[in-house]
């Protein structure tokens, strides 16, 4: 990992609570909370509202802990990128050791609470998801392979699985499909972003796909993942695990995702003057897509339950 100098502007001991909160990557956490909640709400069975709240809280806090560990490990890289140099550790607002300890405390606290309140299976999967993000993705894959985001995408795919298992207590096909949907969604989502911030990644030596394989290959791969994602999202309906409300919405949302991915996949960048509008549009839509897909899953479950 390149050792870039940190730029301390504030005495580390003076960190505010907001700085610690920023370590948890709150914006990423919203998607984690939402997909976890949808997994919990769409699962068959019942859970006490207090335990449901605790399960979602543990998913959120665990994700926050993993994010803090990620920021601790990548402080040097973050210092070298325009998008991340103002984060609490590279800007010097939080001491590195404090960031690490905060991440460990949140991770351990969330797993132990999950084990006591919900069960050991859910706690084990939560621990696995934290380990996957903080070590498998951040430490191991990200600096080594351009496939980092493909395999590392699994880390973000755990929340609906954990939410579902909090209700049912066991692993079935449907939560595994939800896991796979987020797994396949991550590469086109992240590579769309990587296409318009690739200069930053190249500068700090991170082998992101556009930097290593080139733009052309990345664009084709974005389209390929979007094409595979479409039938995968419709699969729960086809297998009878979800109703027509979900099936039709998943098909329509997925079709739009393929169209926007095709606009990115089949075009060639016109150089430095290119504003990368299709890439930015795909990135924004991909976030909306995932929110909508999981929201529809919950609506479908409510409609099906009401009709039964």
């Amino acid at each position: 990992m390149p050792q870039l100098p940190l730029s301390p502007t504030v005495e580390p001991a003076s960190a505010e609570w907001r700085d610690f909160f920023a370590l948890t990557k709150p914006r990423v956490m919203t998607l984690v909370i939402f997909t976890g909640l949808c997994g919990l709400l769409a699962a068959p069975g019942e859970i006490h509202p207090m335990l449901a709240f605790t399960a979602i809280l543990c998913i959120a806090v665990g994700a926050g802990g993993a994010a803090a560990l990620n920021m601790w490990w990548e402080a040097d890289l973050d210092a070298g990128m325009k998008r991340t140099r103002h984060r609490p550790v590279p800007s010097g607002r939080i001491d590195r050791t404090a960031a690490r300890d905060f991440g460990v405390a949140l991770s351990c606290g969330s797993v132990i609470t999950m084990a006591l309140a919900i069960g050991w299976l859910d706690a084990g999967i939560l621990a696995l998801s934290i380990f996957y993000y903080a070590w498998v993705y951040t430490v191991w894959l990200k600096p080594r392979t351009p496939q980092n985001i493909v395999i590392g995408g699994g880390a973000g795919a755990f929340p609906p699985l954990i939410g579902w298992i909090a209700v049912t207590g066991h692993v079935t096909l449907m939560p595994v499909l939800l896991f796979l949907i987020i797994f396949m969604w991550t590469p086109p989502h992240f590579w769309a972003l990587a296409l318009f911030v690739q200069i930053d990644y190249a500068k700090v030596g991170i082998p992101m796909m556009p930097v290593v394989a080139g733009e052309r290959s990345t664009r084709y791969q974005i389209l390929a993942y979007a094409v595979v994602l479409l039938p995968l999202t419709v699969l729960p309906w086809w297998l009878g695990l979800a109703g027509p409300v979900y099936g039709i919405a998943a098909f329509a949302l997925g079709l739009a995702f393929v169209v926007l991915s095709a606009q990115v996949g089949l075009r060639t960048s016109s150089g430095d003057a290119d504003t990368m509008k299709p890439e930015k549009r795909l990135f924004r839509y991909s976030i909306l897509y995932l929110f909508a897909l999981f929201a529809v899953l919950v609506v479908d479950h409510a409609v099906t339950s009401a009709g039964a």
Binding site: E11, S14, A15, W17, M50, L51, T54, L57, T113, L116
Partner: protein
């Protein structure tokens, strides 16, 4: 030459530092209170569920015996 890191803080800097420390301490206090409430509520829910389970198990043999 003076080292800026060992220089004593000016009164406004010290006041700002104290304000940040106070905000952090307050946030930590709120988190601890929230944790106490959370664990108390989880305990109540778990105890109630266990009591209901024991009651269900106790009534099950009686039903079986009645058949």
């Amino acid at each position: 030459m003076t080292d800026p890191l060992t220089e004593p803080l000016t009164p406004p800097e010290l006041a700002a530092l104290r304000a940040r420390q106070r905000s952090r301490s307050l946030a930590l206090a709120w988190v601890l209170v929230a944790l106490v409430v959370l664990f108390f509520a989880i305990t109540l829910v778990k105890m109630r569920a266990e009591r209901a389970q024991v009651a269900a198990m106790a009534s099950a043999p009686a039903k079986d015996g009645a058949q």
